[in-house]
Symmetry: C2
Subunit: 203 residues, 2 copies
């Protein structure tokens, strides 16, 4: 995240345009099929601008990962996504993915990219760990709030449940993408949420 150039607002806008265009292209067609030229045309910039803001492809991918991590947190939405601190909120969160065909096209905007670049020799591990870590934190915060409020038993393992929810989403989107059908994602998410619910205190 250390910038070697001072960026004016105009430069920032150009940089943002590049990242957004690259993120969209990579999401739809993967890193490998997204070449310099496609990014240039989509972002309406010239060759040297890519070199200027991103000396190599790896730095661009890192920027896209960071950008996608923010999207996943809802930081880019207006208004910002609310907390996931109730079963109803989790269901709302889940359902928000089931009625958009975007998931079928490219899976999870962060996870599918992470999966693709993780096993290459690109130095992107930090960005991936940070992205998943911040995402997990959102679930942990919501689950902890539920536990503190009494919606979950005191001995409910927050991290365990957060892992289950995250994995259900990541795996569900992959299966949905493969089957071109949201049913696997729906089933996985509902199962994970039901499992969270099973830790509700007896009434």
């Amino acid at each position: 995240m250390t910038e070697e150039h001072k960026l004016t607002p105009k430069g920032l806008a150009t940089r943002e345009r590049i990242v957004e265009a690259a993120a969209e292209l990579i999401y739809l067609h993967g890193v490998h099929a997204t070449n310099n030229d496609l990014v240039r045309k989509a972002a309406r910039v010239s060759g040297s601008q890519l070199s200027h803001y991103f000396p190599d492809k790896e730095s661009l991918i890192r920027a896209v990962l960071a950008w996608r991590a923010d999207s996943m947190m809802g930081l880019r939405e207006t208004p910002p996504r609310g907390d996931l601190d109730s079963i109803a909120a989790l269901h709302t969160w889940a359902d928000s993915f089931l009625n958009q065909e975007t998931v079928l096209a490219g899976g999870c905007s962060f996870g599918s990219l992470a999966s693709e670049v993780m096993k290459t020799d690109l130095d992107v591990h930090d960005e991936i760990a940070i992205g998943f870590g911040r995402w997990q934190q959102q679930f942990r915060a919501g689950l902890a709030a539920m536990r503190d409020r009494g919606d979950l038993r005191r001995d409910a393992d927050i991290e365990y449940l957060a892992h289950a929810l995250m994995a259900a989403f990541q795996g569900g989107t992959l299966l949905a993408q493969a089957a071109q059908d949201t049913a696997p994602l729906r089933d996985a998410l509902y199962a994970a949420i039901a499992h969270v619910e099973s830790f509700a205190p007896p009434r």
Copy 2:
């Protein structure tokens, strides 16, 4: 799967050697980083042999997908993996992944490859759908056996539970790979299995 050449046993062995070497390289470094030369050296074949058995890279990837699908089913193991028709069997299946560092290196041998090639323009969708379909069938068969035996309630939704198990594994391996820690995979699998168990009839 239609062969345009008649293959002698020797040819079949060479072909198998190529597929296995390519599968290993792709698993570790991804499709993009696995070039012709690396496959040639690993399989100890010459350039024309690749062209002979696999006219282009896409056909090789298709073969690797089919090969990985067989591995996932345990068809390549001796003895073949048993049925997943009890909670104990599911736990044994889950634990078999948690003590091997292979998962941390490359995720699911089939799913990570599927995720990588799915959004490219390669014509591999059939192989992916077939691979996941056969895998799902194994879970469905095991769950149906449990239901028929009375280990699960009669109204337990077999497909729903199969989706939950598969997604937990796929998502769990991805998170484990990212974190370089099997904990997310363990949590996801245990949660999914516990959810299956919650459909046991009251006793």
